[in-house]
Symmetry: C2
Subunit: 153 residues, 2 copies
DNA sequence: GTGGTTGCAAAGACTTTGCATTGTT
DNA sequence: AACAATGCAAAGTCTTTGCAACCAC
């Protein structure tokens, strides 16, 4: 455990720098939350994060998780997203943009990127008089495993 | 007023049929909500709908609006969506699919469709082993009016 | 008359906030 | 020591649900 990966470490460092710049304080709680978030698979709900963080440090409240995720979002390390039901989920904001493909049966979320789609989005926005700033695209379908599983039964 | 348009009338008829099929009852409240929803511009929040419906019939509660919108969603006449903040907004489910282009400044929502993007989505899903069932795409940017307004100030 | 429907208010899910206490700097 | 951060619980949103009165069929 405590396996480190470059992305998480860079993110962590960036978070620390952000705190210093803003004259905010480093605390064990923030460290724990940010570390777990950055090492996680992404697309975490606050509840999941709270659960994971609590295993490491049971003296942490929901409010702190919410407040820390807001911080992370402000400093650009996390993106807040609302899938299907409107519950907030956070994902690591990575340099390279990607979109989501979601299985309607098992809930699996696969990330992908497709430059040809991005180009067409840009073109479409311009055609309609908009200056494109960002986008959100989610494809919903049924994954291979679930289709296979369906046939077995 | 009471201007009718074909789409709204068709939708209304379809709703009535659905009620009959399910052995549910027609009520003044349901009629009012569905009528206002179908004649509206789309992308209504429950709150907006509640406000509009109340002008016509003040004896209507929030619960009824929620329940009726759920009915409309079940019978395929409305789509429930969660934009930016997770609050539910409903739009008329039309035959032909479209996506959304949203102005980050004024909140204006423009609908568009772009077959080339849809084709690429299909292709992408297949490539990743998914059977595509649907999608959601939102482009965010700044509209012409807002850019113009920005320059004036 | 029967059984679905309504409005209200209460309860739920998720998130934010107030405040005394705790912890960083 | 100053003051931000925390945990808790209370308050806030948005949405759902329980229930007696009500209304469509």
């Amino acid at each position: 455990m405590a396996k480190s990966n470059r992305l998480a470490d860079e993110g962590f460092a960036r978070f620390k720098t952000y705190l210093r710049e803003q004259r905010l304080k480093s605390t064990a709680q923030r460290d724990a939350i940010v570390e777990i978030f950055l090492k996680g698979a992404g697309h975490v709900s606050v509840e999941e994060l709270y659960g994971a963080v609590r295993k490491q440090n049971p003296r942490i409240g929901y409010a702190t998780v919410y407040r820390t995720m807001k911080l992370l979002t402000e400093c650009g390390l996390a993106d807040e997203r609302h899938f299907r039901n409107g519950e907030a989920r956070y994902e690591i904001a990575e340099k390279d943009h990607h979109d989501h493909l979601i299985c309607e049966r098992c809930g699996k979320i696969v990330e992908f990127e497709e430059d040809r789609i991005e180009a067409l989005q840009e073109e479409t926005a311009r055609r309609l008089g908009f200056e494109l700033r960002g986008h959100k695209m989610e494809l919903y379908g049924v994954c291979l495993d679930c289709r296979r599983r369906g046939r077995e039964n």
